[in-house]
Amino acid sequence: MEAARDDGAAAARGPAALSGELSDARLVAQCRSGDEQAWRALVERFSRYVYAISVQAFRLPAQDAEDVFQEVFARVYERLETLREDEAVRPWIGQLTRRLCIDRLRAGSRETVEDTDELPETAADDVLSQVEEAFDVHDAMAALPENCREILDRFFARDESYRTIGDALGLPAGTIASRISRCLEKLRDVFEGRNQPPGASSEQVT
């Protein structure tokens, strides 16, 4: 699922806006034309995805996960020209990440295990499919008002407390729980397609 995006307006803003608002295909096209801001946005858009595949699905230790992370983006940067369909960038990055994780596990196992039949070959499929679903949910969050995105991300993805969120956003900590609840309902509506995405990112949830 890809949230509604305004390519023209986003192009004039920074990497965060570009990441949230340009379509995958448009972002790839801009990267290919040498737009470094678009490259930064592309990294921002897919960084969590690559990180989650390597750490959550393949359970790579931090050093290996970092090497895979850098290798994935280095290869994407080098080979963007070879991508046949710009909108296929996400499955391409996903496949590249999985392959590099497997290579890393095999290399590590060769150093410690002689019996190569026991090598870990793949990540848990259910975790990989949850990571894909999670990416869709984060993509849908782009259609929420900015304060909703911020609150949901800080609470669920960054594990911040009500107090920390309240301090950061200038909101009373006592109102955070109810805001989270309302934002989740909005997200569910967007995600299930029951309502039109709010579109106007300036809409605030109080």
């Binding site: 989650a52 959550q56 992370f69 850098q70 280095a74 999670a134 993805a157 569910r188």
Partner: protein, 82 residues
């Protein structure tokens, strides 16, 4: 699409925490790092002494040029100067 309850959505949001900022920053700086790398390689081709020092300490050379020495960059630099 199946119905998404609030708990499931919460769990899915939590499945994608941010990658460490330094990792993201290094990847975002790739275009600039590549340019720096090209400069280092060109200098190594023109200056044998610099090339020797470079081969002896690739990581230090990248850091001296202000480039975060990630594994892919070190690997590429190693290939290009050896």
């Amino acid at each position: 699409m199946s119905a998404y309850d609030i708990e499931r959505l919460s769990r899915l949001i939590g499945m994608l925490p941010p990658a460490p900022a330094a990792w993201v920053g290094a990847a975002q700086e790739l275009p600039q790092a590549r340019r720096e790398l090209d400069g280092i390689v060109a200098r190594a081709e023109a200056d044998a002494e610099f090339r020797q020092a470079l081969i002896a300490d690739l990581e230090g050379a990248l850091q001296a040029e202000g480039v975060e020495p990630t594994w892919p960059l070190l690997d590429e630099l190693r290939r290009r100067v050896s």
